[in-house]
Symmetry: C2
Subunit: 309 residues, 2 copies
């Protein structure tokens, strides 16, 4: 199985309102609830691709139970979330029915105690034993040490399990130094890590910091990969319109599934870019449209990139 780690799982609420106007009162016309957090989104896409997947991280309180209840309803997904005393967070995405724009409100998440973090590490090391690959995804809840992902990367490497890291800020900086197989920053995370806004230069710099491969997700510009086997850019033939929520998580699922299937890098990237575009195009935020995926997959162009000067 593929293991995805989401330390800060969430119950994602989507609220549709007629038009969001600050400092007024709104009647929510439609409420959608689904289990979330980046690793949970990755797991859902992996399961849809036919890969058995196990989800770990923390779940606590009433919201944690709601996340677990909904997670176990997804075929192909095994719930291995570790309990914590604090309540798991909610996120609220307010969709403006007039403009289609989304305003996001993210609760911080439960405070995780040192004992809970130790219990998680033990569970994680146990799960690595049967994992073909692992993805470490998203923000860390309060209380989890900032070097947490670096430790989880080292455990995976010690267990011989390929590891992908998708996070931001200091946890990314420290995690990269622990030499993960793949990191997948977006443009903003990459610029924050390297100080450079020039994507190819920044991607190469991120790789020099310790990652074996770096795949940067650059929104409408597609994916830019710098790997030991070469450098490529993968993008759909034309700009895809829709909601980018979850597009990066779908790209992670494409990269991981391609890794465990031993696909060549260009094929992994084409799959990741197609899943990402199919997620942007899906009617519901964070879902991906399988028909759109199959239609987009052969139309992704993967081109070799020269080294930055």
């Amino acid at each position: 199985m593929i293991l995805t780690v989401t330390p800060n799982t969430a119950l994602d609420l989507t609220y549709r309102v007629r038009s969001l106007r600050p400092h007024t009162s709104h009647r929510v016309s439609e409420v959608v609830e689904r289990p979330g957090g980046k690793g949970v989104n990755v797991a859902r896409v992996l399961a849809a691709l036919g890969h058995p997947v196990t989800v770990t991280g923390f779940a606590g309180g009433r919201t944690g139970r709601a996340i677990q209840e909904r997670l176990t309803a997804v075929p192909g997904v095994v719930d291995a979330l570790v309990p914590c005393a604090g309540a798991s967070r909610r996120t609220v995405a307010v969709v403006d029915g007039t403009t289609g724009d989304t305003t996001q409100l993210n609760e911080p998440g439960p405070v995780v105690s040192p004992a809970e973090w130790s219990a998680f590490q033990e569970a994680y090391e146990g799960l690595l034993g049967s994992a073909s690959a692992v993805a470490l995804c998203g923000s860390l809840p309060p209380g989890v040490p900032v070097g947490a992902y670096a430790g989880l990367v080292r455990s995976a490497r010690a267990a011989g399990v390929p590891v992908l890291l998708d996070t931001a800020g200091e946890p990314l900086r420290r995690g990269v130094a622990a030499r993960p197989d793949i990191v997948k920053p977006n443009a903003e995370e990459l610029a924050e890590l390297t100080g450079s806004h020039e994507p190819l230069r920044a991607t190469q710099d991120a790789r020099r910091r310790g990652a074996r491969a770096v795949v940067a997700s650059l929104g409408a510009q597609g994916l830019l990969a710098v790997t030991p086997e070469g450098r490529w850019r993968a993008a759909p033939p034309a700009r895809v319109h829709g909601n980018p929520t979850g597009a990066g998580d779908s790209a992670v699922a494409g990269l991981l599934s391609g890794l465990v299937e031993n696909l060549p890098w260009p094929d992994r990237l084409a799959r990741a870019a197609a899943l990402s575009a199919a997620t942007v195009r899906a009617p519901a935020a964070g879902e991906f449209d399988f028909v759109a995926y199959e239609e987009l997959r052969p139309r992704i162009t993967v081109t070799a990139e020269a080294t930055a000067a």
Copy 2:
């Protein structure tokens, strides 16, 4: 005991953000959860005033259980909420930490079936037997007939229990016609009911529609009451600054407690106006500041009003 009815109970979430900017992502720095819905707020104030109070209405799903858990933690409040299959709603108040302004998002609430509505009516009629007064508060969840409050007013009158109605729109229009003892519209609800934006004229008109007494809450202008015993205006000496959330619910608690204590109308109004102002002044939205109440109570001026031309 005093009975408060909240057909559409809520779990009220307050989110503090640095600054609300539509179409961007926000980190919520503080989350406060409390049981809500107008009748629940009224009950909390009545309990703080030392009146035993029973809360009924609907509670369903995980959110309903969260509401009940928090409600039973309030001393003096008895939970008599009736179960429903749908999940109770959440409301989210987003407080902008820079301006202090609040943006409100209200979920619609559970769909109540005809069988659930019948079960509620039966429970309500049983509770009336030991009630000294009843308050019918807030919006109706989907599925509850628009004439629901009119029926509940008639049942209370048949049982000889004084009944106060605090709602809006068509449920208010029909409820008033069933001759409740008191209605407490705000300026907007009053204008919608009567078509008049002139408060005294509109208040008198609302009374002619069937209410024995009408107490209009006019924000900074205080309360305007038209009763069989006379007409009064009750207001604090100066404008009170703060958050008006829950001020109307505190006024209802003042009116009801004054009614069961057989206070003369001017004393009821002074108490209601002071509770209302003390709620505006409280640091937490919807709470009331008891010290502020005691300080404001003797400073409320109650003046007799002449009849509108």
